[in-house]
Symmetry: C2
Subunit: 405 residues, 2 copies
Amino acid sequence: MSVPASAVPAFDFTSRLSRRAQTMSASAIREILKVTQRPDVISFAGGLPAPELFPLEDVRRAADAVLTRYGPAALQYSTTEGHPPLREWIAARHGIPAANVQITTGSQQALDLLGKVLIDEGDTVLVEAPTYLGALQSFQPYLPTYQEIPTDDEGIDVDALEALLARTSVKVMYVIPNFQNPTGRTLSLDRRRRLVEITARHGVPVIEDDPYGQLTFTGETYPSLYELGLERAGGVEGNHVIYCSSFSKTLVPGLRDAWVQAASPVILKLITAKQGADLHTPTLNQMIITELLPILPRQVDVVKKAYGERAAFMISRLEAEFPEGVAFTRPKGGMFLWVTVPGDIDTTPLLARAVERKVAYVPGSPFFAHGGGKNTMRLSYTSATPDQIREGIHALAGTLRDALA
Amino acid sequence: MSVPASAVPAFDFTSRLSRRAQTMSASAIREILKVTQRPDVISFAGGLPAPELFPLEDVRRAADAVLTRYGPAALQYSTTEGHPPLREWIAARHGIPAANVQITTGSQQALDLLGKVLIDEGDTVLVEAPTYLGALQSFQPYLPTYQEIPTDDEGIDVDALEALLARTSVKVMYVIPNFQNPTGRTLSLDRRRRLVEITARHGVPVIEDDPYGQLTFTGETYPSLYELGLERAGGVEGNHVIYCSSFSKTLVPGLRDAWVQAASPVILKLITAKQGADLHTPTLNQMIITELLPILPRQVDVVKKAYGERAAFMISRLEAEFPEGVAFTRPKGGMFLWVTVPGDIDTTPLLARAVERKVAYVPGSPFFAHGGGKNTMRLSYTSATPDQIREGIHALAGTLRDALA
C-alpha cells in the first residue's frame, strides 16, 4: 500500500507534545555537522574514535566465541543489571561489590538515567563552562536549571565552586575530570581533592563522567573523583561520587557498552529506571565486550599512541600556522582540543567561511549551558591523517587570518 | 583497593532522588519471579521467547557477513534514526517514507521515548485493564494519571472508551490489539475501526504496541490500527496512530531491535529524545537484524507453529484439569494466556502454594494500572515442553482445587 503524502491534513501532534519535548530541539551541532560531512571537507568536527584502530578481527572472533559458548542465551533477554562477569570485572577495578555496578547502553544512557532518577524540574545542576553537549541533552528533558562553573587550564575553578555552594542550593554536579570534552583539559590533583571535599561537605552528589581517562599520552594519571570519594568516605555507600565510564573510546563505540558505579540507593533506582528504558543492554554486545577484556590493555596502548601522535602533530601545526591572538589547549590525552579566538569573532557564522576552504570544526557555543563561548571552537584530531591535519589546519589558519584582518 | 562496607556512614542519596524516582519501585513481578527461577520449578511465569527456536547459526553468519561487508563501520557510532536499509525495509511494509521510522533499542525504549515526548505530569493516559506491565513502567517516570478501559474477549470495550472520551480530557491512549500481553486476546475488526474513528474524532493519539502480531496460529490477521488510521487520514502525516513493533519475538530479543512509525512531529522529537537517551541503537545489531530479514518469514513460521502447538496443548490440559469456575482465554497467537479464578481467591499469596507444588505463574494484579485483578494470572506456554505443560498444569490445577476447597 502506498499513500500520497500531499493534500492530507496533518494530525496536530505538536500541541500534544509534553512540555519537556517542547524544550528539546534538534541539536544545533547536529545540523551544523551535516554540512561538514561532504567528502571534500576535512573535518575536525566529528568526535568519532578512529575506526582503523578498531579491533575488528578480535570482535569477529569474540562474537563467534560467545555464540558458541553461550548458545541461544547470547541472544535471549538478560538481566537489567548487566552481564555478571562484566559487572564483576568493572567492580574489581575499584575493589567494590558488583552490586554497585550498572551496565548501560552507552554512557549517554547513564546520563539519561541519572537525570531521570536525580533531577526534578527547576533543580540546580552544576556544570563546567564549557561542558559535554550530550550531557546537557540528556539532562534537559528533566528540566533542570544549570549553573555554570568557570574553568581554566587546570579544569574547574574550585574557588568559584565553593563560593557558589555557599550561597546556592544545588541538586547535583556534573564534571568530566580527564581530557574533558570539549576542551581536552584535565582537572589537577589538588583541585580534585578540594572538589571532592567541598561537594561532600555540602552534601552535593557528583556525577563524574570519565570516558577518556585511560587515553593518557604521557602516562600520567590522577585518581578519579570516585576513588577520592571512596577514600574520604571509607566505603562505597558513603561515597557521594557517581562514576560513569565506557568501552566506546577504548574498544568500540558501536556496541554501546558503558557503566555506572555508585552507592546502592542510586544503583537500585537506576535498575528500575533502566527496566522501563530498554529492559537491558543487548546481551550479545555485553558478552563480546567481556570477551575482549583481555585485549583492552593492548588496545588502549594502540589508541593512546595514535591519538598522542595526532594531537602532537596538530598542536605543532597550530603553533606554526595559527595567527597571533588565537589560543589553544594542549591536551595530554583524550580526543579534543579547544581553540579560543579573539572575542569579536563568532565561530558559528565563521564555519561557513571555513567550509568554503574545505575544513570544518565545531563552534564552541553549544557546549555552554547558557550559550556563551561564541569565540571558541572544538577540534578533534582522532581520525585525521597527517596530510589532512597539515592541509586542514592550513585552511583553518587562513580562515582565521581573514577574519582577523 | 578493597574497602570495608561496614561502619561507613552512608551518603544520603535517598533524599536527593527525584520525585519521579520516588514513585518508581522495583517491579513486584521481578521480585516474585526470582523465587520461580529455581530449576526444580516448572515456570509458566516468564515471558521469554523459546531460545531453542533462535536462528543461532544465521546470527553467527550474519555477524560475520556484516563485519566483512561494513568493516569498522559496523562498530562505529551511527545515526540516531537508525541503519538506513533497516528503516527502508520497515517503511516499505506500510508504504510510508523511511523518514517516518525510528529504530529503538527494543520496544521498551519506544515506550520510554514516547512517554518522554508526550506525557506531562498528571496527563491522562488510557490503558487496557489489564495491560502490559512494562508499558506502565515506561510511562510511570513521566507521572501520568491512568484511566483503565475494561476489556472482554474481543479486546477493549469501545463503548466504555467512547463514554470516557466524551467526559474526560485524554492525552494519549496505549493499546496492544494483537494477542495482547497479558491476556492473549485480540481486538476484533469492528472494534478496531470504531477505536480508530472515536480516538481520531476526539483528537487522541493512539500508541499501538504490536510485538506479537505476526505470531498468528490460525493465519487470520486484522489490519493494524496504524493501517486503519492511515486509510482514514489518507496519509502518514494525518495518521493519529503511532505504531511500535519489534524483532524480539520473531527473530531474537537479546539484540534489542525495534521501531516506531509515526507522523513527522513525533519522529522528530523521538530523534532528539533518543540522542539524549542512548545516541543510537547499537550499529552491529541493526546490521545483523537487516541481514536476517530474508529469513524472517521462515523464522515467523517456525515460531508460530511451535507456539501454536504449545498453546493448544496447554489449553487442552487446562480443559482437562482445571476445576469448575476457573476461566481462561484461548489465544489465537502470541505468547500468553490469561486465567481468571473465582473472585475470593487472591493469586499473589497463592503463588507460594503453587511453588510448593513446583509450578509458577505471574499473578495478574501488576498488569492493572490501578491494581485490580487479584483473582487473575498469566501463563506463558512459549518455552515449556509437553511434559512440563502436563506436569505443571496438573500441579497448578491441584493448587487451585485446594484453594477452592
